[in-house]
């Protein structure tokens, strides 16, 4: 599948310097779309960011990013993605800390 359909592509109409671009992400949904949009909005260099799932039977989402100061939306996207990944890792660590140390109601195996 990776050979025929690229995971992500830049849709036509993007700025030449990628300061404003719409990315089409294949095989993703609101799960990634909304979280990614939030992470991009946290970046103060991002002027605008929005996502949409154009049609429920099309397995794609589109993410629009516009940057201030002609910065690259591509690098902002990569930063946001790796930040989200770090966030997952942080939560996993935090969960394990709670799992090992916290005092919570536990299930005791009978027999």
């Amino acid at each position: 599948m990776a050979d025929s359909i690229p995971k992500i592509k830049i849709m036509k109409g993007a700025e030449a310097d990628l300061s404003a671009a719409t990315f089409q992400i294949h095989d993703e949904s609101h799960t990634i779309g909304n979280a990614l949009r939030w992470m991009l909005m946290k970046n103060p260099k991002v002027e605008f960011c929005g996502y949409s799932a154009p049609h429920p039977s099309e397995n794609v989402i589109q993410v629009r990013i516009q940057m201030y100061d002609n910065l690259s939306s591509l690098s902002a996207l990569i930063t946001a993605l790796s930040d989200l990944e770090t966030l997952c890792g942080t939560i996993e660590d935090s969960y394990m800390t709670s799992f090992n140390n916290d005092d919570y109601e536990k299930w005791i195996e009978e027999s």
Binding site: P6, I8, K9, I10, K12, G13, A14, E15, A16, L18, S19, I25, E28, S29, H30, T31, I32, N34, A35, W38, M39, M41, K42, P44, V46, E47, F48, C49, G50, Y51, S52, A53, P56, S57, N59, R64, Q66, Y68, D69, L74, L77, I78, L81, S82, L84, E85, L87, C88, T90, I91, E92, S94, Y95, T97, S98, F99, D102, Y104, K106, W107
Partner: protein
């Protein structure tokens, strides 16, 4: 309920039972908490019966009825990532020990009582049994390392051989009726069919006092009397009666209860959920890093209309679809200031102490109304 930009995300487990975990996730976005919920419900692979070959069915239920019920039976799926291949990635022609599990059911009633056919009557054919997958062809494929990664109970109906666990009722038969069939269980995810979901329910709550007014409580005469508070309200400060509505507030505490059907443990579901999210993000980064040259070239070559570039780049009122959809396009675009901080302060500074918080909530609200609407989510494959 204040901004949480500088606080570390935390998890606090409140309860962990055999089939459910209850935890509080703090200091993350609503969007992220929702991603975690969605991924746990729909993107974690398990095994479930996918094909049924009925040899004898003299019961009162039609074949497809029974096949559907068999599909819903939870099968033990621990370590599903490594223990079984996706059939579409397997080298075999029509099922083998690496990508499928064969289960058989053969029950007949010979006495005058109504008899229950249950999931406990399903028997797994041990991998390596000759003739399972046809004409002995399976010997040509190497068994792969998947088999060694499987637990002892992998693929068995949940609760079988566990005294006290009630089985799943499939059908009732009486004297002279018989049910004989073979099932093939395969790996899949709940995005394709809900039978592959490891969760029977995921409860997800935030803002138990409805301080953020993300919902409206309909009431006859007294809102507080008619809307009892949830248990989670104990974790939060009740609103004062004279408290003004803080329209910049963002939710920051999320109450999860993940309840599984037994195919995976609750602990495994949460861990796999986070791992699955990371995999999705890693795949995206990989996709961006392996083809950026190609994409930039096509992006640069194809500049069909200059209008487009004008509209977006200048960020003026002509922002068309996007600006209008957010409802704030005019305000933002109009101030052509290079930094977002300036615009935010002028527009929202009165109430929000930190500009980024105000800005985020404004856009977030607009975008949610436009694209993240419930109708879209409940349609089609991306439930």
């Amino acid at each position: 309920m204040q901004g949480h930009d500088d606080l570390e995300p935390t998890v606090h487990i409140r309860e962990l039972k055999k089939d459910k975990v209850n935890f509080v996730l703090k200091n993350v976005d609503l969007a992220f908490a929702n991603s975690l919920r969605r991924v746990m419900m729909a993107d974690i692979p398990t095994v479930a019966i996918d094909m049924v070959e009925i040899e004898i069915n003299t019961t009162v239920l039609p074949d497809e009825f029974i096949a559907h019920r068999l599909g819903m039976v939870p099968l033990a799926s621990s370590n599903c990532d490594e223990a079984i291949r996706n059939t579409r990635d397997c080298t075999c022609l029509a099922g083998c020990d690496s990508c499928s599990i064969m289960l058989v059911l053969n029950v007949a009633c010979h006495d005058h009582h109504t008899m229950d056919v249950t999931s406990h009557h399903l028997d797994v054919v041990p991998p390596g049994t000759p003739g399972t997958w046809g004409d002995g062809e399976e010997q040509e494929h190497d068994a792969g390392e998947e088999l060694s990664k499987r637990g002892e109970r992998f693929g068995h109906p949940v609760g079988k051989d566990e005294p006290g666990t009630p089985p799943v009722l499939l059908c009732k038969i009486r004297k002279g009726q018989e049910l004989k069939l073979r099932c093939v269980a395969k790996k899949g995810i709940a995005k394709e069919h809900a039978k592959w979901s490891p969760c029977s329910a995921v409860s997800f709550e935030y803002d138990p006092y409805n301080k953020l007014r993300h919902t409206t409580h309909w009431f006859e005469s007294d809102e507080r009397g008619e809307w009892p508070l949830s248990e989670n309200a104990k974790e939060e400060e009740p609103p004062r009666d004279d408290e003004p509505f803080d329209f910049n507030a963002q939710p920051s505490q999320f109450y999860f209860e993940v309840e599984t059907d037994g195919s995976l443990g609750p602990q495994e579901v949460v861990m796999k959920g986070l791992a699955e999210l990371q995999t999705k993000l890693a795949n995206l980064i990989l996709g961006l890093k392996t083809q950026p040259e190609l994409d930039i070239l096509t992006g640069g070559e194809q500049q069909p209309n200059g209008n487009n570039a004008d509209g977006w780049g200048a960020g003026g009122g002509g922002g068309g679809g996007w600006g209008a959809a957010s409802g704030n396009g005019g305000g933002w675009g109009g101030s052509a200031s290079p930094t977002r901080g300036g615009a935010a302060t002028s527009a929202w500074g009165a109430t929000s102490p930190h500009s980024s918080g105000g800005a985020t909530s404004t856009w977030g609200g607009g975008a949610n109304a436009g694209w993240g609407s419930p109708e879209q989510q409940s349609n089609g494959w991306n439930v």
